[in-house]
C-alpha cells in the first residue's frame, strides 16, 4: 500500500485533484480565501502528513508538474505580445516606473529583513515577492532561495496588494487609469490584475502588461543588486 501511496501517480493525482477542487470552489465563491492555491494546500499538506509522505518524496513525485513552470514562463511571452498593443505611446513612462518599482521593491525587502536580522536565505527567497509566481520561483531558484518561502510571500503580497491597493491608490491621489492598473499589476501580479480588471478594461490591460515587465526587470535587477549588496 505504501508503495502505491508514495508513487508518482498518486502524488500527481493528489496535486491535480486538489487544484481541481480548489478551482471548483473558487468558481462558486470568489473570495480571497477561496483562492485555489490556498484550498489545494489545505487539502494536500494534511494528506501528506496523514499518509506519512515527506516533502522530498512529494517533491520528486510532483516533478512532472513543477517542470511545467518553465514552459509556463515562456508562454507569458505570448501574453505580453497580446497586451503590448495597448501601450499607446506610454512606453517610456511605463518602463521607467516599473523599473524603479522593481528596484525599490527588492531594496525595501532587503532593508526590512536586514533590520530584523533575517538570515540570508530568507532575504533571497523574499526578493521577488512582487513578481508573478512562476518567474519569482525561477528567480529564487537561481539565487538558491527557499521556493516555499518565495511562494508564500508572493501569495501574501498578491492578496494584500489587491485588497489594500485600490485604497492606497486613492489615498495617495493616483488618478490615471493607466497608473492604477500598472501599479496593481507591478505590486501584486496576477491577483492585483484581477482586481484591476474589476476597475475597468484599461486598468486590467496595463496591470497584465505590468506583470510580465515586472518579472523581466526584476530578474535583471536582482543579480545586479546582489552583486552590490555582497550577501
Amino acid at each position: 500500500m505504501k508503495e502505491i501511496l508514495h508513487s508518482d501517480t498518486f502524488i500527481v493525482i493528489l496535486t491535480i485533484g486538489s487544484y481541481y477542487i480548489g478551482t471548483l470552489i473558487n468558481s462558486r465563491v470568489n473570495k480571497p480565501f477561496t483562492n485555489p492555491l490556498l484550498i489545494a494546500l489545505i487539502l494536500i499538506i494534511p494528506t501528506l502528513l496523514l499518509l506519512d509522505i515527506d516533502y522530498p518524496t512529494y517533491e520528486k513525485g510532483s516533478h512532472i508538474i513543477s517542470f511545467m513552470l518553465g514552459p509556463t514562463v515562456v508562454a507569458l511571452g505570448y501574453i505580453l505580445h497580446k497586451q503590448i498593443a495597448y501601450l499607446h505611446g506610454n512606453i517610456r513612462s511605463i518602463l521607467i516606473s516599473v523599473s524603479i518599482g522593481s528596484i525599490v521593491g527588492v531594496v525595501s525587502v532587503l532593508l526590512i529583513c536586514w533590520l530584523f536580522d533575517c538570515p540570508r536565505e530568507v532575504m533571497i527567497s523574499m526578493e521577488p515577492k512582487s513578481v508573478t509566481m512562476p518567474i519569482a520561483l525561477a528567480i529564487s531558484e537561481r539565487s538558491n532561495g527557499i521556493l516555499a518561502m518565495t511562494a508564500i510571500t508572493v501569495f501574501v503580497c498578491g492578496i494584500f496588494g489587491s485588497v489594500v491597493g485600490p485604497w492606497v491608490l486613492k489615498v495617495t491621489g493616483i488618478k490615471s487609469k493607466v497608473a492604477k492598473g500598472l501599479a496593481l499589476g507591478a505590486a501584486a501580479h496576477g491577483v492585483g490584475t484581477s482586481r484591476a480588471i474589476q476597475m475597468g478594461q484599461v486598468e486590467g490591460a496595463f496591470a497584465g502588461m505590468a506583470i510580465a515587465l515586472m518579472g523581466i526587470l526584476t530578474a535583471i535587477v536582482i543579480p545586479i543588486i546582489e552583486s552590490i549588496w555582497k550577501m
Binding site: 496535486t15 487544484y19 494546500l41 502528513l49 517533491e59 510532483s62 509556463t72 508562454a75 499607446h88 505611446g89
Partner: protein, 115 residues
C-alpha cells in the same frame, strides 16, 4: 491536437534556447525568463505565428497555479524557518508591496501620457 503539440514544441524549443543562453551568461538571468523574452520578440517580429502558440499559452497561463503548487507544499518543510522570522517576513512583504504600488503609480501618473 496537432496545433497544441506543435505549439508546445515551439515553447519547449524557446525554453531550451533560453537555458543555453542563461548558461552562457553564467546563469545571470533564469533561462525560462530569457525564453519568454525570445518568444515575445519572435511573435513581435512575426518569426512565429501567433496562432501556433495561442492555445497552449492560454492553457498554461490559465492554470499556472497548478504548476507552482509543489513549491507551495514545500511550506511543510520550511515552516519553522518562516515562523522564526515571522516579524521581518510579514513587515517586509506588506510594507514593500505598498511601496511598489505607490512608486509605480506616482511615477506613471506624473510622467505618463495624459488621458
Amino acid at each position: 491536437m496537432h496545433q497544441g503539440i506543435r505549439g508546445f514544441l515551439i515553447i519547449l524549443i524557446f525554453l531550451a534556447i533560453g537555458n543555453v543562453i542563461s548558461w552562457l551568461i553564467n546563469n545571470f538571468v533564469p533561462g525560462n525568463v530569457i525564453g519568454m523574452i525570445l518568444m515575445f520578440a519572435a511573435l513581435q517580429m512575426h518569426i512565429i505565428e501567433e496562432k501556433s502558440v495561442e492555445s497552449i499559452s492560454k492553457l498554461l497561463t490559465n492554470n499556472m497555479t497548478l504548476m507552482f503548487l509543489p513549491a507551495g507544499v514545500g511550506l511543510m518543510a520550511a515552516y519553522e524557518l518562516i515562523l522564526s522570522n515571522i516579524a521581518g517576513i510579514t513587515l517586509a512583504t506588506l510594507l514593500s508591496t505598498i511601496i511598489v504600488l505607490v512608486v509605480v503609480g506616482k511615477i506613471q501618473d506624473k510622467w505618463g501620457k495624459k488621458e
